[in-house]
């Protein structure tokens, strides 16, 4: 069971600000999602290896060669704020 406290906790981790109504709503909805997922628990998975990736691909590599840089103007184009070529953010202690 997901409690309202769980929802508050997850919201904090995701930096979401929720009002009381939303907290109630999401608590109900998340529990329904978990109920649906619980159906999968019924399956017998003995002998099935844990899935690390859904695609049957492995070992995709890149050689260690330097490529083009982005133009700093482009890098900073969507920044809410900048100072010279730095991203400018509220102070975090």
């Amino acid at each position: 069971m997901i409690s309202k406290q769980d929802v508050e906790h997850v919201a904090l981790l995701a930096r979401l600000e929720l009002n009381e109504e939303e907290k109630e709503l999401y608590t109900r909805q998340l529990n329904k999602i978990l109920d649906a997922a619980r159906a999968l628990q019924e399956l017998n998975t003995d002998g099935v290896p844990p899935t690390a990736h859904v695609l049957p691909i492995q070992n995709v590599f890149r050689e260690d060669r330097v490529g083009e840089h982005i133009d700093p103007e482009k890098a900073l184009a969507n920044a809410p704020d900048r100072e010279e070529n730095f991203f400018k953010v509220p102070k975090i202690v």
Partner: protein, 480 residues
């Protein structure tokens, strides 16, 4: 009766790998550079981009893992470690969680002549975060500036077992780890520049108790000395807390070098809820044993092997061999000197004596030593040839250390050539005998040690340039 306590220490070390490009994109890893110039859409975390693993990073991680006696995983994967901080543009760090590339290793350290094996729990690959720059005062500034040049630089994190019991063991572990990694060539391991960083977990418990006490984590340790001091301080602090009836709080503390204390960092609430899950953008890594063995065979000689060889082949005492192999730079220097001068013990004596003394006094490491290995070899040859005495050689060495000049040039310039001419010395010996009748009488009366004083007088009269063996011989002859 006072309770005695035991410290329990575990260490996490992050090492920056010396690749050309970042772990998941082809941006350069070059240190510094203008802010945000060494970036691309991938390491900036722009939507729609995909990471692709740098093969060299895997090779380096395997190399380091093997050098640390780890078992390399045939199957490993990458996971997302989720947290919000402006130095992390994606709001998650790509790391390895439950299936790291290497596990179950160990390192043998030596403290006070005792060898101790420290377990290595795991070694995994991950990406570095960016750098926050604070304008002016960190407390009063209203904002931070972010530079993502370092974001995505490849790291390996090496986690030890809580096997260390003293500040000295903690230091010895990190020193040894640094040496091993440096020998493998996968990182520079410069602690001051941050290419090797360590976080130390410390707890204390009453001797005899099996369960661990509550631990704290110490950060901001940028030298071996800081690490040892911080751990010593933290052990005492925790014992003090327990002795006064208090409880140790699990928290992160930062080392304040100037004040010599650890300080609590405001504990970030729920900071350790990282909600790891497999990164769907990266496919699993499957390494076959053939490739792992290929890398194992390509490993260079490691500190322990080199140390054993110094004892076996060069006949060095264990102590010398340990000190000389402690850093790769020191060991490489030694190797080069003995290419040109074939008495390893003499080289070792000079490196561990005069050179170590002058380096320590200057707060330097051997990479900044102005004396080239070939020059040290030349100096030792001058002593062997009798051109200068061992005593004068120390003066010459100091001058070489200060100026980087060749020993021959210094000897010539300062007129330091040893006097080995019997005729020239005989006159000085006669003068000394005439001027010190008391010592002469003592010697003749059977106090043979009086000759030492007379030798000293001859050396003084020649400003240290007389050949001491010759002076001894002449004095003995003349006093018979």
């Amino acid at each position: 009766m006072t309770q005695s306590y035991e410290a329990v220490i575990g260490i996490e070390v992050h090492v920056e790998l010396k690749t050309n490009t970042k772990i998941f994109c082809n941006s350069t890893t070059e240190f510094g550079g203008d802010p945000n110039h060494h970036t691309c859409p991938v390491c900036l975390g722009l939507p729609g981009t995909l990471p692709v693993l740098n093969k060299k990073v895997v090779e380096y991680a395997v190399r380091a893992g093997l050098a640390l006696n780890c078992k390399i995983a045939n199957f490993s994967k990458f996971d997302r470690k989720n947290y919000y901080y402006p130095d992390l543009p994606k709001n998650y760090q790509i790391s390895q969680y439950d299936l790291p590339i290497a596990e179950h290793g160990y390192l043998d350290i030596e403290v006070d002549g005792q060898t101790k094996r420290i377990g290595i729990t795991r070694l995994h690959m991950e990406e570095d975060a960016g750098k926050l720059v604070h304008q002016g005062n960190i407390v009063t500034t209203p904002y931070s500036l972010v530079d993502y040049n370092r974001t995505g630089v490849p790291l390996i994190e090496i986690v030890s077992e809580p096997d260390m019991r003293s500040p000295e063991e903690a230091r010895a572990y990190v020193e040894k780890l640094k040496a091993v990694i440096q020998y493998t060539g996968v990182s520079d391991c410069r602690m001051e520049e941050g290419s090797l960083r360590c976080d130390v977990n410390v707890s204390v418990r009453p001797v005899g108790q099996r369960e661990f006490g509550t631990k704290t984590e110490i950060k901001n340790l940028n030298s071996f000395r800081a690490l040892q001091r911080a751990v010593a301080f933290e052990i005492e602090r925790q014992i003090g807390v327990l002795e006064s009836g208090g409880k140790v709080i699990q928290e992160t503390r930062t080392w304040d070098e100037a004040r010599g204390i650890t300080v609590s960092m405001r504990s970030k609430e729920q900071a350790h809820d990282y909600r790891y899950f497999p990164d769907p953008d990266l496919v699993p890594l499957v390494l076959d044993n053939q490739w792992i063995e290929f890398i194992r065979e390509s490993l260079p000689e490691l500190p322990d092997q080199r140390r054993a060889r110094y004892i076996r082949e060069y006949g060095l005492p264990e102590y010398d061999a340990s000190i000389l192999t402690l850093t790769k730079e020191m060991s490489d220097y030694f190797e080069e000197v003995i290419q040109h001068y074939h008495t390893p013990k003499a080289v070792s004596n000079w490196m561990m004596g005069e050179m170590a003394r002058l380096l320590n006094a200057g707060g330097m490491d051997i990479t900044r030593c102005k004396i080239k290995p070939t020059q040290l070899a030349e100096l030792l040859k001058l002593i062997d040839k009798g051109t200068i005495s061992g005593k004068i050689a120390k003066t010459v060495f100091e001058e070489m250390f200060a100026s980087g000049k060749d020993p021959e040039a210094i000897v010539k310039e300062k007129g330091l050539v040893q006097i080995s001419d019997e005729g020239a010395l005989a006159a000085v010996v006669d003068e000394v005998i005439a001027a010190n009748p008391k010592s002469v009488q003592d010697y003749r009366g059977g106090k043979t040690q009086a000759i030492g004083f007379l030798v000293g007088q001859v050396m003084k009269a020649t400003r240290g340039k007389a050949n001491p063996d010759l002076v001894n011989k002449l004095l003995k002859e003349k006093l018979q």
